[in-house]
């Protein structure tokens, strides 16, 4: 059965198309009540008193004293509480939980909280507390800068970004025989289990987490569902009844995570001909009020901060700073869109300053197989920076158009980028991910904790198993992720679900094939009964990484991309109209071309939103435009014509040569757009480049029209 490289029908297609698929809010349990979170209305201070200004009969109420074991959302650090004890560190921080069977009564309930306010910190550059510092050193930057012909400096900024998954967060906690089941919209069921074990302690060992059909995540359902699950579970534990908590859009936007805002400073030394000789980079991320995932976001951001370029002398310093705002977290790209925005806009400014062709500048410095990255990793044959750059430039007729558009209100811009697939450094080795395939009466069932969040996990995994086992695609089932029943294949993040989990599944299938000895799964099952194959991930043995020095093989492989955008600037309103986007991306090999194309189209749209529209307005430490009316993401009419080009350069360690793809498309649109705007005389160094921001740029003053 050939399945790889074919756009087979989605495993979740019919359910979603017919409305049969059940999302968290579609599910009810007998006796279920609804939960609500009472949150802080100050960004910094202490709780003085809490008053329940309503008739509390029939209500279940929890505060921190109801925590069965530890009031800690267990993630990288153990600093974030499920419920505030006294100290409030950000707006919308959970303080009290209420539950009632009548939603109207629940929402009418008034809780009055008095605070003692303290002065908050909102500016990460003024913050004195760093959650994580990184210092990557290659060669001798100071010396190389001293001998450079030219030095170019610049500071670049990126804003918050909200995920806007179509389904808001939602969890249901259900008491069941001997324990609890948690159903919900989430990316990482085993992260939730870890957090709940810490919350409930050893007295409550029987907890399982089941992922319900999930309407998008983009990283936004990586860590925060652990918090909501804890809340639902506390209320269920106290009331003895199933408790459902569904956030509406406003609550979801003000309370849950966003992309980390970044400030990136570059100081670059070059030879006159444009050869990079030194890159001194500082990355500052606004982490928000708790550590959550900031160290790992900072890590990926720093590793990508020098862009897809070779340079012998590089220093990258990173700081993940505390501020009194809701914690920022995982978001498609995980730090790289921020730092790659900075380096690509900086490269464009270098080309301008040195009067070099921007394509030639990139070609001269682009990483090639055999080159060393900023962390000292030697790149292998699956390095495609030049390939994607040349193809993008060729098919868009970039150089001719750049000249042709001079003096008009149309412009063309490009960005070259890369994205490491899988966990950073020793991450995959430490994770020890497992995957399992079970024989069924009719075929096989895949049992992994990797979640389908719209990107096609089930379909793509089934294709890999189909191909490796040589059985019909229709006979491969995919189990609903239930932590009591599936193997812990690690979180569904970091563009690792195809490349890493898919690889373990491929190996499981090969082993199973051998066991079947030529029999069909059904025949084997009839004759010998059940059979399960579980295997653990073995990263390539050549990967060497030092977490202290940040040197070594940061990622087993990288995807490569070059985006070229043509756009128009309205001279009266400063509105930008994207006309055409060419996205040339190499990610090993597409397992499912239609789904892969969908990832690039969607990621490009999300990247264009990040570049032009999506502006989180923070006031007093909280999102002030927390509605879809005022936080705008692109509609179809905001999207340009798309030319999506999928190039191949197989990675031997991935299933059938595949690398990771999910995050790659997010890295290019921001810098490509801003580099085009530069052609129009607009010195933009931050995104979102809203019309308001463009209008305020130097050279845009006076009536432009």
């Amino acid at each position: 059965m050939k399945a790889i490289g074919k756009s087979v029908s989605r495993k979740d297609g019919i359910g979603k198309a017919t409305g049969g698929a059940k999302y968290a809010d579609d599910i009810t349990f007998p006796g279920m009540i609804h939960g609500r979170t009472i949150r802080s209305t100050i960004p910094c201070g202490r709780v003085k008193s809490i008053k329940y200004d309503f008739d509390t009969t029939g209500f279940t109420i929890c505060d921190y004293r109801d925590v069965p074991s530890k009031n800690i959302v267990d993630l990288i650090e153990k600093d974030q509480p499920f419920l505030v004890e006294t100290e409030v560190k950000h707006m919308a921080e959970p303080i009290v939980l209420l539950a009632h069977e009548d939603k109207e009564k629940l929402h009418a309930a008034k809780v009055i909280i008095e605070y003692e306010e303290e002065t908050p910190v909102f500016d990460p550059e003024k913050s004195t507390l760093s959650f994580k510092d990184i210092d990557i050193i290659k060669g001798d930057v100071a010396k190389a800068l001293a001998s450079a012909d030219v030095i170019v400096e610049g500071t670049y900024r990126t804003g918050h970004q909200e995920h806007v998954y179509i389904e808001t967060n939602g969890l249901i906690a259900v008491p069941e025989e001997g324990g609890y089941a948690l159903y919900g919209s989430l990316q990482c069921p085993f992260y939730v289990i870890k957090a709940l074990r810490c919350l409930m302690g050893s007295a409550h060992p029987n907890i399982r987490v089941i992922q319900t059909e999930t309407g998008g995540g983009f990283g936004g359902k990586e860590e925060y569902p652990s918090m909501i699950a804890g809340h639902a579970l506390m209320l269920a534990h106290k009331s003895g009844r199933p408790v459902k908590i569904i956030y509406d859009r406003v609550e979801d936007m003000i309370a849950t995570t966003k992309r980390h805002p970044a400030i990136v400073k570059h100081r670059t030394g070059l030879k006159k001909d444009g050869t990079l000789v030194a890159m001194d980079i500082e990355v500052i991320l606004d982490g928000g009020a708790y550590v959550t995932l900031t160290p790992t976001v900072l890590s990926r951001g720093c590793i990508h901060a020098a862009g897809p370029y070779r340079c012998d002398n590089v220093r990258i310093r990173g700081h993940g700073m505390f501020t009194n705002t809701p914690p920022n977290g995982a978001f498609r790209g995980f730090g790289a869109p921020q730092t790659e925005f900075a380096v690509e806009v900086h490269m464009e400014r270098i080309a301008e300053q040195l009067k070099l062709d921007p394509v030639e500048l990139r070609r001269k410095n682009a990483l090639r197989a055999g080159d060393l990255t900023a962390t000292g990793q030697t790149l292998r044959e699956d390095t495609s920076a030049l390939m994607v750059l040349d193809e993008a430039v060729r098919r868009t007729d970039f150089s001719r158009k750049r000249k042709e558009y001079k003096g008009t209100n149309r412009a063309i811009g490009l960005a070259l980028f890369f994205h490491g697939a899988g966990f950073t450094g020793a991450g995959e080795r430490n994770l020890k991910s497992k995957a399992r395939i079970d024989l069924t009466e009719t075929g096989v069932r895949i049992a992994v904790g990797s979640t389908e969040i719209g990107q096609g996990t089930r379909t793509m995994h089934a294709q890999i198993v189909t191909e490796a086992l040589g059985i019909p695609y229709e006979t491969v089932e995919v189990a609903q992720p239930d932590t009591s029943r599936v193997a812990d294949s690690g979180p569904t993040v970091a563009s690792r679900t195809c490349m890493v989990v898919g690889k373990i599944l491929e190996e499981c299938a090969e082993e199973m094939k051998e066991k079947l000895g030529g029999m069909s799964p059904a025949d084997y099952f009839k004759k010998n009964g059940p059979l399960s194959i579980e295997r653990m991930y073995e990263p390539p043995d050549w990967i060497i990484w030092d977490d202290k020095t940040y040197l070594g093989d940061a990622y087993a492989t990288y995807g490569w991309g070059c985006d070229v955008i043509e756009l128009e600037l309205d001279p009266y309103t400063f509105e930008v109209k994207p006309i055409k986007m060419t996205a040339v991306q190499e990610f090993g090999r597409p397992i499912h071309p239609a789904l892969a194309r969908g990832q690039i189209e969607g990621g490009t749209a999300q990247g264009l939103g990040y570049a032009l529209l999506e502006n989180v307005v923070m006031r007093n430490g909280v999102m002030a435009n927390a509605q879809l009316t005022n936080y705008v993401i692109p509609t179809t009419l905001d999207m340009p014509e798309l030319d999506i080009v999928m190039m191949e350069n197989p990675y031997p360690g991935g299933p059938f040569g595949a690398k990771g793809l999910g995050e790659l498309p997010m890295d290019g649109p921001g810098p490509a757009v801003v580099n085009a705007l530069r052609q129009l005389g607009c010195d933009v160094r931050e995104i979102p480049a809203t019309p308001e921001h463009i209008a305020s740029c130097p050279k845009m003053n006076g009536s432009y029209a």
């Binding site: 705008v632 009536s703 029209a705």
Partner: protein
């Protein structure tokens, strides 16, 4: 919102009687009202559905053959499809095309847009620039209020609780009309600034939405244009005349800049050959 107390009227007279006797709030397309209900800002729970009142959905000319009369329940789709609106008030057709998406265009009405009174309502600058008159009726009788006197403040109108907006009347217009919306994105967008303008040779009229608490006309700028001042002079007058707002959607600085640019755009685009 779990409970709504809803009645439906089958004629304007019945609607007016119910409004007087039961103090119900009318709902037309409900596209504004349901958003308010969702955000918990909807106070009245006793509603009267007037959607089916065909009498209020007519578009035509008055007995004088000049005045354009648009029924309050006319939807944006109705406006776009109406030959007489296309002919007499093309700037309203342009505005209608830029409202929401197809669903809102099929359901949203001009009566709702006007009475809801958001300063970002896209038809408001059109009626302001057109010197329109709104027709209000209750069991006490009918009255006509110039559109430019209809708003008393932010989302405040002079309509009484027992009155229905019946129609909008627009006198015939001399000169080229224009409408420009600057939204937060290409579609499904709230205006950050909108301009409707008429290049009447004797009496040029300019109105802006989303600039202040209500839709505004700019009489000083209009006078500058009427007296034959250069566009640069008129632009300077406009800059001094307006005092835009800052909000989560845009900034005062941008709004002022773009208002002036839109005026320049209008003047350039409509310049006599």
């Amino acid at each position: 919102m779990s409970e709504l107390d809803l009645r439906r009227a089958s004629s304007v007279d019945e609607a007016l009687t119910i409004m007087r006797d039961e103090g119900r709030t009318p709902i037309a397309g409900a596209t504004d009202l349901y958003v308010a209900a969702q955000f918990g800002t909807l106070v009245p729970r006793k509603l009267l559905d007037i959607w089916k009142l065909k009498e209020l959905r007519t578009i035509g000319t008055a007995a004088d053959g000049q005045t354009l009369v648009i029924g309050a329940l006319s939807t944006y789709t109705d406006l776009m499809q109406s030959a007489v609106v296309q002919d007499r008030l093309p700037m309203l057709v342009t505005a209608a095309r830029l409202v929401g998406g197809v669903q809102i265009q099929n359901r949203g009405t001009i009566g709702g847009n006007i009475v809801n009174g958001s300063p970002a309502g896209d038809t408001l600058p059109v009626f302001a620039a057109a010197d329109a008159v709104v027709v209000l009726r209750s069991l006490r009788g009918e009255r006509r209020v110039p559109f430019n006197e209809f708003y008393a403040g932010y989302r405040k109108t002079v309509i009484k609780p027992d009155e229905l907006l019946i129609a909008v009347e627009t006198p015939s217009i001399d000169g080229i009309q224009a409408f420009r919306k600057v939204g937060t994105r290409a579609a499904q967008a709230i205006s950050k600034i909108a301009m409707a303008a008429v290049r009447d040779p004797k009496r040029p009229r300019i109105a802006f939405g989303s600039l202040a608490a209500t839709v505004v006309r700019v009489p000083k700028t209009e006078a500058a244009l009427a007296s034959g001042n250069s566009i640069d002079e008129a632009a300077a007058v406009l800059e001094a005349e307006i005092n835009p707002i800052d909000d989560v959607r845009s900034t005062a600085v941008y709004r002022k800049r773009v208002a002036v640019n839109l005026l320049r755009w209008f003047w350039k685009e409509t310049a006599p050959a």
